[in-house]
Amino acid sequence: MMRRKESRAGFLFALPWLFGLVAFMFYPLLMSLYYSFCDYSALRSPVWIGTDNYSELFHDEVFWICVKNTLLYACFSLPLSMVIAIGLAMLLNTNVKGMTVYRTIFFIPSLVPMVSLAMLWLWILNGDYGVLNTALASIGIKGPNWLSDVAWTKPALILMSVWGVGNAMLIFLASLQDVPTSLLEASELDGASAWQKTRNVTLPMISPVIQFNMVMGIIGSLQVFAIPFVMFPGGIPARSTYFYAMYLYDSAFNYSRMGYASAMGWILFVVILLLTLIALKLSNKHVHYGGV
């Protein structure tokens, strides 16, 4: 009797989410799978066309450019951000004075709205009056045209992504603070150097968090959208900054090819699933679930 009452209450309390889960998650997921096999525009209802969207994507030059751009961006921005986030967290974890001030400074860039961030960097990287190139010039380096040279637009975006490592850094910092000092002291007594302590004690202890941040990083970086969308409309110059999510958005809302966009969405979803599974598999060997 008691149990039944609790069951009913539990179900009632969960009801809003059960509805949300179905209406805003399962239904859209299934529908987008269906649309991906349809010719569907904003004006017409979906018409089944089999795998046409997928085979067209396979031969679509722009699609492959976007795939390449997105993978390149992720391959550089992700490892770089991870290393810098861990590095900053370790610096902050040394009990230096003013830790909270430094922490705030490193974290603030990740608070800033994407669009504002894009505006700010458009100004800093500006070819004519940009302050970054002026600074580089003062130490004798001739800065590139970050915003208009095909070779430098992606590095510019990667540089900006490094500036936003604050979130990952805070998560690392929290996990570093949970590493038992007894372990570190013990290894110190055994004569371990600072590097050996990091390599053999600290990193294994925070490995679950490294894995977590890596998976979140993969998911996030493959969906990069707002900043390039605002800074480089249409992926200018020469589509060098045309990313997967931008092409998907354009297909759906500018070219009104909803079915095509849905096919792109499902490919992205499957790729993210696979990459996440691979990342978990590969890193599981190295992940240590003793502490944290």
Binding site: E6, F24, F106, M114, I171, V209
Partner: protein, 282 residues
């Protein structure tokens, strides 16, 4: 001992250098925002403006109020605040209720559904973009704020997870005692769990406020008329219409969009850091 001093000095030097690199873009933003237009284009750059033009902020907010292309920044601000209020309220209310069920009530299928809930955090938004748009189109909601706030009232995986972790730490004896006194689940939720969960609830409120304030893709998809835009969208519009030349005004407008976020952060720093730290601990 000497070596220790040396390494502390080294750490400090590294932190100071890195801090400068991280903070510089903001200083440059503010610096540009208060410059006269002529000094934004000078080479070498003018580091300290000859005259602090605080009027730039006013001018940015009222840009072109006498022309057709008027960009009503204050209207955008009002829209954004209103939207954020609806989203934050919905997020806190719905997720608290749902998390209570996952954390403290036993029901058939609970753990399975919770696992599914966690898994949905991996689903990329672009894959659901088209069908979600279609749903709201059928409801006739395109061009209104409803697609942006109604879903918030039906829970979100991340907030449910965060609140559930917190609710689970509240001693179950409290609920049992209340039950013996004849209290129902709703009463227990309202008068025991909620008052004890203020820190966790404020973290959820904070994150959802930030999320709404920063959201770009949602308003881009659903809002059509200029006077309904949010600040993020308005700033982009501002850039493509008026910016590109008047950098001082664009930077002034940008600082205005950033400012509230920074103010909120400074007042709620502790909650923030706690909230983000919880995220990483599975």
């Amino acid at each position: 001992m000497n070596q220790k001093k040396f390494s502390t000095a080294l750490t400090h030097a590294a932190l100071v250098t890195l801090s400068c690199l991280f903070i510089f873009p903001f200083l440059w933003l503010l610096d540009t925002a208060v410059k006269p237009i002529s000094e934004t284009m000078k080479q070498p750059p003018v580091w300290i403006p000859s005259k602090f033009e605080f009027g730039n902020f006013w001018e940015a907010v009222n840009y072109g109020s006498d022309k057709v292309g008027y960009i009503p920044f204050l209207v955008y601000a009002e829209n954004t605040v209103m939207l954020a209020l609806l989203v934050v309220t919905g997020t806190v209310v719905s997720n608290a209720i749902v998390a209570y069920s996952f954390a403290r009530l036993r029901w058939w299928g609970r753990d399975l559904i919770f696992a599914v809930t966690l898994a949905t955090m991996m689903v990329p938004f672009p894959v659901m973009m088209v069908p979600t748009f279609t749903i709201f189109k059928h409801l006739g909601w395109i061009g209104t704020y409803r697609p942006l706030w109604v879903p918030a009232w039906f829970g979100s995986a991340f907030s449910i997870f965060l609140l559930r972790q917190f609710f689970k730490t509240i001693p179950f004896e409290l609920s049992e005692a209340a039950k013996i006194d004849g209290a129902g689940e709703w009463t227990i939720f309202r008068s025991i769990i909620l008052p004890l969960s203020k820190p966790a609830l404020s973290v959820v409120a904070l994150f959802s406020f930030m999320g709404t304030w920063n959201d770009f893709l949602g308003p881009l998809i659903y809002l059509l008329r200029q006077e309904t835009f949010t600040l993020s969208l308005g700033l982009e519009f501002y850039h493509s219409k008026a910016g590109g030349t008047q950098w001082n005004l664009l930077m002034a407008a940008t600082s205005i969009v950033i400012l509230p976020v920074l103010v909120v952060f400074f007042f709620c720093q502790k909650q923030f850091i706690k909230g983000i730290s919880i995220t990483g601990i599975k």
